[in-house]
Structure formats: structure tokens, C-alpha cells
């Protein structure tokens, strides 16, 4: 960190409120997008716990299933799912901003970057659904 700043101390400065993100939908959306990472982490943790229970044997797995049936856990997972979807959608929509791909002298339209992301997402989801639901 530099020990000084060229930033002027003269003039009247308004302190940014701790709740600056509540005043505008765009700011709130940004904060929700950032918070979504916590729920992504929760799902990762959950998968690790499930794999551990699976490795430990049928009793541990039954206990894990019991835990997953808890209404509080179901509620948390439902909220987490919505946040994870929000996280994925915002990220796919941001991808074209970071990737300025040019072909034939023209910038490739945004949909050509975000589109494949969405398609891959749907395909992977369909494969997972098929694996789980084929009976």
C-alpha cells in the first residue's frame, strides 16, 4: 500500500453509506450476484459431504438422506438453487463483455459467445437428468 495519496483532501467529501447498494436495483443485483458465491460454495460442500457419506457405507448414506429431508435443509437448498441459477445466468451474460472475439473484421455478436454457454448448460443438465431419472 502506498503511504500517501495524490487524492485531494480539499473540498467537501460525502462519505459513501454502508447501505449504498440498497438505493438502486443495479447495485442490489450486483451484491446478490456476489453473495451467490456463498450458495455455490454450500452446494460444493454438500457434494463433498455426500461423496464422503457414500464412501462410508449404507448407514452413513441413510443418515445423509435423512439430513437432506430436513425441511430447513430443503428450504436452504431451494434458495441456494435459485442463487446458483442467478449466478450462472449473470456469468453467461457477462462472458461476451470479457471476450471481444473478432471474425472477418467484425466483432462477433454477444449471442454467439453466451449462446454456446447456455447450450452446453442445457445439454449437461439434460444428461444429468437422464442419468438420474431413467429409473
Amino acid at each position: 500500500m502506498p503511504t500517501f495519496t495524490a487524492y485531494p483532501t480539499k473540498g467537501y467529501r460525502v462519505r459513501v453509506s454502508t447501505y449504498w447498494w440498497l438505493g438502486r436495483w443495479a447495485y442490489l443485483k450486483f451484491i446478490l450476484r456476489e453473495i451467490s458465491s456463498v450458495f455455490v460454495a454450500w452446494f460444493v460442500l454438500l457434494i463433498i459431504l455426500q461423496i464422503r457419506a457414500l464412501g462410508k457405507g449404507p448407514e452413513a448414506w441413510a443418515a445423509m438422506e435423512e439430513f437432506m429431508k430436513n425441511p430447513l435443509v430443503i428450504g436452504l437448498n431451494l434458495i441456494s438453487f435459485l442463487f446458483v441459477v442467478f449466478h450462472a445466468v449473470t456469468w453467461f451474460n457477462l462472458a461476451p463483455k470479457a471476450m471481444a472475439v473478432r471474425m472477418g473484421g467484425k466483432r462477433v455478436p454477444n449471442i454467439m459467445i453466451s449462446g454456446p454457454n447456455y447450450i452446453a448448460w442445457i445439454v449437461v443438465s439434460a444428461v444429468v437428468a437422464w442419468l438420474l431419472l431413467r429409473g
Binding site: K10, G23, A26
Partner: protein, 247 residues
């Protein structure tokens, strides 16, 4: 349509006031009037001490940026009728120290702008006799959008990161750095990388994206910064894999 609208203007005189306060003026509401016209009306007819910056009245000079009803706007391009029946609240640009009334101190931005070296850097200048550095329309097109910046600083007023961390280089300075990095005539991207890839450079940006939303010239500073994050990461990987080569 009513023929008057209330203009609530932030007033601050450092020698007299402890903090800014609002003063309300009734101004004519005319179809063709922008907020800047209303401010000029107040200055000409009501209170000559009202201080604000303006110049071209046509969205080119970038001087008249202010907060209009809490949104960063060029006041020369913001029509009063859009705010009827009012009131219209005019404040100095957010995130900058206020010097007087609607005038903010922008030295910080100017210092940061010059730090990113927003000019064409050549490793070796070719002699004048060899003529210009030529560029195709496609090459121009790669950076043209970023070159439209008029330094109006609306993006800084919209950026919460800059408000919270004044050391952050900010949207316009980073977008202009990227404008020169992408210019086929420029060879200075190595020189800019050290400044841009610092914590206070591109990595300070958390991609709120509001800079792009408020930009009156559609520069897309948020896009420029994310693109540079990609470049910065590639350069980092390169320097990691080839610590002594590649340059």
C-alpha cells in the same frame, strides 16, 4: 403542461458552509430546455453566484456532468420535460470532492489518466519523411468505441468501487488505456501492463457494470476492463511459464 418546474440545486460555499444544502428555484418548463438551460437561467436571472461547469452544450466537451435526480447525467442532454412535474434535483457528481455548488475537484482523475499513458507509444519512432502510421478501417474499428470517451466522469460517479476506494484507477482511465493497447500503431502495452495489472488497476473492478450503463458515448468501460483482465491473466501465465523469455 405546467409552465414552471422546481429546480433543487445543491449549494456549497467552502468559506461559509459546513456542508452542502439545497436551494429551490422555479424555472420555466420549456419543451426544448435541458437541465443546463435551467441552470443558466438561474445564473442569468436569479442568482449570479451559482457555480457550475459547462461549455459546448452538445455532448462533446464532457464538462457539464452532474447528478440529476441521483443519476449521473450530461445536463446538456437531459431534458426538463422528462422530469415534469418535478422537482428536479441537481447535485455535483458523486464520488468527487465538491469545490463549490456543482463543481467537483477532478485532479485525482487527471493524475490517474496520465499514469496509464493514454497516448501512442512507439519503441522506435519512424522518421517524418516516411509518412504516417497507416491503419485499416478494421484496425480502427477494434478500438474506436473506447476512443469516444469525452472524460465527462459520469462513469466515476456511477462506480461504487471508486466511491469506496479512491485509489482505484476507475473506468474511464482503464478504458482509455485499453483504447491505446488495441491501437495497431501503439507498442506500449508492456509499459501499461505494470500499472494496469495492479490491485488498484483492473483488479479493483468488481464488474458492477454501471459505468457502461451511464456512459453517454456508449464507450463500455466495463467491457474494456474485463477484456483487459483476460489479457492481464494471459500475460501473467506467460511470465509464469517463461520467466526469462517471451519479451
Amino acid at each position: 403542461m405546467p409552465d414552471k418546474i422546481a429546480l433543487e440545486v445543491a449549494r456549497y460555499t467552502p468559506e461559509r458552509d459546513k456542508e452542502p444544502k439545497f436551494e429551490t428555484f422555479e424555472v420555466p418548463l420549456r419543451k426544448e430546455w435541458v437541465v443546463l438551460d435551467a441552470l443558466n437561467y438561474v445564473k442569468d436571472k436569479v442568482d449570479g453566484s451559482l457555480s457550475f461547469r459547462w461549455s459546448c452544450r452538445m455532448g462533446v466537451c464532457g464538462s457539464c456532468g452532474m447528478m440529476v435526480n441521483d443519476e449521473p447525467k450530461l445536463t446538456c442532454a437531459t431534458f426538463l420535460t422528462d422530469y415534469a412535474p418535478g422537482p428536479v434535483r441537481v447535485e455535483p457528481l458523486k464520488n468527487f470532492p465538491v469545490m463549490r455548488d456543482l463543481i467537483v475537484e477532478i485532479t485525482d482523475f487527471l493524475t490517474k489518466l496520465s499514469k496509464v499513458k493514454p497516448w501512442i507509444i512507439r519503441k522506435e519512432e519512424k522518421p517524418l519523411s516516411e509518412g504516417e502510421y497507416l491503419q485499416t478501417p478494421d484496425q480502427l474499428d477494434t478500438y474506436k468505441q473506447f476512443s469516444m470517451c469525452i472524460n465527462c466522469l459520469l462513469c466515476y460517479a456511477a462506480c461504487p468501487v471508486y466511491g469506496l476506494d479512491p485509489l482505484f484507477a476507475g473506468p474511464a482511465a482503464l478504458a482509455l488505456a485499453q483504447r491505446y493497447n488495441m491501437d495497431s500503431r501503439d507498442q506500449g502495452s508492456d509499459e501499461r501492463l505494470d500499472i494496469l495489472s495492479q490491485h488498484d488497476g483492473i483488479w479493483g473492478c468488481t464488474f458492477v457494470g454501471e459505468c457502461t450503463q451511464v456512459c453517454p458515448k456508449h464507450v463500455d468501460p466495463a467491457g474494456a476492463i474485463q477484456q483487459y483482465k483476460l489479457t492481464g491473466t494471459q500475460e501473467w501465465v506467460k511470465s509464469f511459464l517463461m520467466p526469462f523469455g517471451g519479451k
